[in-house]
Symmetry: C2
Subunit: 405 residues, 2 copies
């Protein structure tokens, strides 16, 4: 008997009618002879309301209390879906993170799953029960509720699938799969039947918000076959699988964009050994994630250091750099939030030269200036002025032959 994990996001359980619809989907998998564990998010809007309560009381609220408050949204949905499945005549029960237990670390608000003891769940499934699991949460050392950060229910689902050695982890959402790019920008975008973990990871990290990045990492490490598909339409989705399973490897599988970054430039900093370590050490200490980095070679014993940080981190980054001004002696601190990061991703890049050059030429042909470049093994990203975002995405989608016929 195959075990399947199904995960439904907030819009898929937004009201009682949608919860009834989810129950029908679950019923179908059970009727087909599968053991099923379902992971649910909070009804859409609920988490935002709970977060607002915490933030309105105190913007600097204790993350442990925040977690105790916001984790309740998923608990409600799991109980409601269990009630509906029982009404349909199935054995079902809800599970909260601490009941399983899903053990996390103590990074409250964005905890990582340390391990899942799947034995109680397995016993329940073997007894013919449908397990309805509250996503997004676990139990941290000290018996406190911890949440996994936005999109954390994806990670709950993948981790459960790994613990239960499930055949598949189906992520039901409001899009029907992973596309070559955002179909709202490029109507000719195509849905991918398959995508590799590595590609999905790169896409997730640059703004294709279909799956939480951490869930893809976990799926890759644990070899969990993930399917992204629609809650509302009855059509095949996209399988996220090992690269070996993909026969026709595209040079570029997708084009992604993100407007979540800001560019900072530290002007005319002293060009001496250790200067980068000082700057990025200070930023790391302020808990600021730095993404793209460029250093110009200077002429007069100074240099310019340019990098990107998340827009939300900008005030903290600014404060951190102001704090070391005396030490590194820059003249200006330039900030630009009017930028977009455009990325092309594909495992085929490994064996094909010229991928980056196709990108640069396509952008140049449209008169788009590249501000910063960064590359990984299967990704090339550029920073451009935000106003060119759509133009750049369309040009690249065409340049790499991704447009649907």
């Amino acid at each position: 008997m195959a075990c399947i994990v199904m995960k439904f996001g907030g819009t898929s359980v937004a009201d009682l009618d949608r919860i009834r619809n989810v129950a029908q989907r679950v019923k179908r998998e059970v009727d087909a002879g599968n053991q099923v564990a379902v992971v649910v998010s909070a009804m859409s809007g609920v988490t935002n309301q709970l977060v607002k309560y915490c933030t309105d009381l105190d913007p600097l609220h204790d993350a442990r209390e925040y977690d105790a408050v916001v984790a309740t949204g998923e608990q409600v949905t799991s109980g409601l879906l269990a009630i509906e499945l029982q009404r349909l005549g199935y054995n079902a029960r809800s599970w909260q993170g601490w009941q399983i237990p899903i053990q996390t670390d103590d990074a409250f608000g964005k905890a990582r799953i340390d391990g899942i003891d799947g034995s109680a769940l397995k016993t329940s499934l073997d007894a013919g029960e449908i397990a309805v699991v509250a996503g997004f949460q676990g139990i941290a050392p000290g018996n406190r509720v911890a949440t996994l950060g936005r999109g954390g229910s994806d990670t709950s689902a993948v981790a459960l699938a790994a613990a239960l050695k499930a055949e598949r982890c189906d992520i039901y959402t409001d899009v029907d799969g992973v596309y070559t790019t955002d179909p709202r920008i490029v109507p000719k975008a195509r849905k991918l039947a398959k995508i590799s973990y590595e590609e999905m990871l790169e896409l997730a990290s640059v703004g294709a918000k279909v799956l939480q990045t951490r869930s893809v990492e976990l799926a890759m490490n644990e070899g969990v076959r993930v399917q992204v598909l629609s809650s509302f339409q009855d059509i095949p989705g996209t399988m996220v699988v090992d690269e070996d399973e993909i026969v026709e490897k595209q040079n570029v599988s997708g084009v992604a964009y993100s407007r979540d970054d800001a560019k900072m430039t530290v002007r005319r900093v002293k060009d001496r050994p250790g200067i980068a370590a000082t700057i990025f050490g200070a930023l790391a200490e302020a808990n600021v994630n730095v993404d793209m980095i460029v250093q110009n070679v200077g002429a007069d014993g100074t240099t310019d250091m340019t990098f990107t940080v998340g827009k939300a981190d900008l005030p903290r980054a600014h404060a951190a750099l102001a704090g070391i001004k005396a030490d590194i002696g820059y003249t200006d601190l330039l900030e630009d939030t009017d930028v977009a990061k455009i990325s092309v991703v594909g495992v085929g890049m490994r064996s094909h030269a010229g991928i980056a050059n196709t990108m640069f030429r396509a952008l140049a042909d449209k008169g788009i200036n590249i501000q910063v470049i960064s590359t990984s093994e299967i990704k090339v990203s550029v920073l451009i002025a935000a106003e060119y975002t759509e133009l750049a995405v369309r040009a690249l989608h065409t340049a790499y032959g991704l447009d649907a016929a």
Copy 2:
């Protein structure tokens, strides 16, 4: 250092402003040098919404899932109050029922507290933390969340006060104490400075919904001093204490009424030994609580049996009696929902004759017909037509000399 338990109901934590107000009340007790555990209800309206979700999906929902869903309301409030107390500069943390743990039986939806292990809480209090406890809930055998029934947070608070050997359990609510009767009916009703457990119990059981009945029982058994007082006004409330603490014992302390009962009459049932056992056995099996009972002596080998049940139990009571009709052979089953139960309560009754007679005369003077009478050691209750409720309450309040000067 004295330990105090404070409990705030749903209207007292209805929104963020009221939660801020509650935090100020807590602050005052802490600043006075007390260890404080606070028990909170769900923000008003939240529990009703959660109950409605469950009922809309399935009127016959699983009580275990219902409990998992509705218990979240209190969890939210406890986290929010902890955040606000921390903002004010105090150490505070939230506790859910399973974290303490508050152990209950498995009567989901209306569970009873079996025991509280107060050691973790005590350690936290001794370390200078304010404990903010989610009321209304505990953990049942099998690691499932259980709720204590409507008003259950009162019982949570009293049980915690007993476990912590607290000096006092302050129940903050939207009324400012216990009155001689409902002030909406009798403007001359007086607030009682003190009332005995026994009296409070009788009042709670006949419709004075200030405290959950079970919480008063528990307070009496454990000797917990309970104070009922206003969340919104800064005035003394009513102390619920042992009878010995009350010097001036009134013959009658209060007049209560309830419109929650229905009268049933089983007409011309065979008058033979065991007939009562058959009738009330069938009702007990159907889980129907019976309150007042009268049996007429019959003349022709039959008798009429009259009793009251909760209005909500009427359909079940009817079905149970229909099921034994062949056995007991009645001619009619009469039902009347248009009745009210009026009760006078006072520990002074024990040593004073004539209390009941005063009641009967006062009602007769107003032309009010008594349908059923029942008495306990400190209570006399009568069933009358519902339309006379206010008239009866006012007449009795005056007859027993309870009107304020």
